[in-house]
């Protein structure tokens, strides 16, 4: 399978803090990759590097075979990369529907009528139809998280980056979310998903990487990786010898 996303020796640090350290991996087209790691491991920074919010100090990032290391964030979105934020960041002064329309018309470059149809589909899919005309700033946290996912979907991504969207959900909501993400996957969208709610993650992803201090310390089958010694030590925080 061809890789849709490829990171090669990506390095990024802020002063003494390294958020990406010789980071290299590939995401195959159609693959769902899970990312775990302790707080401050550089997971969200990695998304910022992929979407273009941050520029790497060195190393290269390629999307669908094209080098995008110095491409603008807007152009990367148009090329097919969209993300959700751990802390929802809606356009608070605009309605839910308008939030989606921005992504559909600007990110996905859809003409007006098709953009409307796309947004309606996504509202249905993410359960936000009843809130379509509500101001995004007035939504509850859960609804804002759904809006994060919905807005990313309206950009019609081929690579979807999800940043801790399962946090704070009830068991039932979490199952519904896993169902939604599985559906998205089945349409051929590749997914990179950062998540602390490991059981939700394991229900979807084919592969797992573990980050610590910006370094990739494990990469492989999700269950094997979670059970590995490195992960037990670093991520779960248990002494391996204990």
């Amino acid at each position: 399978m061809a890789s849709i996303l490829s990171l090669r020796d990506v390095e990024k640090s802020f002063g003494a803090v390294t958020v990406a350290d010789q980071l290299s991996y590939d995401v195959a087209a159609g693959e769902a990759l899970g990312v775990v790691g302790p707080n401050g491991a550089g997971k969200t920074s990695m998304f910022n590097l992929i979407t273009g919010t941050l520029k790497p100090d060195s190393g290269d990032i390629a999307f669908e075979g094209r080098m995008i290391t110095s491409t603008s964030a807007a152009a990367r979105c148009r090329a097919g990369i969209a993300r959700s934020f751990q802390i929802p960041q809606p356009f608070g002064g605009m309605s839910v529907f308008e939030n989606l329309l921005v992504a559909a018309t600007q990110g996905a470059r859809e003409p007006a009528r098709r953009a409307n149809a796309l947004c309606l589909d996504v509202l249905e899919q993410t359960g936000l139809m009843a809130k379509a005309n509500a101001l995004a700033g007035s939504l509850t946290l859960l609804e804002r998280k759904r809006l994060e996912l919905a807005r990313a979907l309206c950009a019609k991504p081929r690579l979807l980056l999800l940043d801790e969207i399962a946090g704070g959900l009830t068991q039932h909501e979490c199952e519904a979310l896993v169902g939604t993400i599985t559906d998205i996957r089945s349409t051929g969208v590749s997914i990179v998903w950062i998540e602390h709610v490991v059981h939700a993650l394991l229900a979807v992803v084919d592969r797992l990487i573990v980050l610590d201090f910006g370094r990739k310390i494990a990469d492989g089958d999700p269950h094997d990786t979670m059970a590995s010694r490195e992960v037990q030590e670093v991520y779960i925080g248990i002494e391996a010898d204990a």
């Binding site: 979407t51 273009g52 919010t53 603008s72 964030a73 807007a74 152009a75 979105c77 148009r78 969209a82 993300r83 934020f85 960041q89 356009f91 608070g92 002064g93 605009m94 308008e98 939030n99 329309l101 921005v102 992504a103 018309t105 600007q106 990110g107 996905a108 470059r109 007006a112 807005r151 950009a155």
Partner: protein
Amino acid sequence: MEWVNAIVQGVLLGGLYALFAAGLSLIFGVMRLVNIAHGDLIVLAAYLGLTTTIALGVHPLTSLMIAVPAMAAIGYVLQRGVLNRTLGDDILPPLLVTFGLSVIIQNGLLEIYTADSQKMNAGAIETASLEVTGGISLGVLPLIMFATAVAVIAGLQLVFYRTALGRAFRATSDNQDIAQLMGLNKAHVFGLAMALSLAVVGIAGVFLGIRTSFDPAIGPGRLIFGFEAVIIGGLGNLWGTLAGGIILGVSQNIGAQIHPGWQTLAGHLAFLFVLAVRPRGLFPRIEG
């Protein structure tokens, strides 16, 4: 009756002030840029109108067809070429650069057109008026200007809340970083916002040049009137800006009615009063 007349004329004058202010308000709303050169750009537009009128031998109002697109083009190039580079976390660079721009425009105009006062002659329409009742008559030209101001404000409102471009403006204004992640090219969006702002400036400038005499040095004064209209109306509210312009125009005319020398002073006092009583303006929209 003189007083009623002063108020009515003040309302009509307020339309022109709203035109001065609308572009300023739009730019601040979209990119938090305070354009110190705004008044000088209005004067530049007036000279553009004058040159067009003389060179092509057309009516001053017809010169709008040249001045408005020309100003819009200047706006886009100015934003992409200069102002975008000044925008960031620090609010000082855009202030300094637009201040510098103000000085450059004033001196450039002085060099080309000299310090002599100019005025565009709109012919018979300037003196035409409609008799409403006994002592009150409405000038056709002020009426046209006021109607245009209302139409411009309504048009901007429509663009902001009903079009993809407006959504792009509002999304970028709301959160620039997220807007870019949604595929919006910030530099281009800001360029379009400045183009729209200066298109309105084009109208305001030509109207100014028809209504009164002008010279290269009057820009900063128009900037102040524009600022006052924006602040009185409340930041981020276009209809509020129109109301602000009207309040300013009426105050000035009432001041002039009391004593001819009090015209400008009365406007400033009204502004000061609103600022003291309602520091965020009468109809604020932008939070914080």
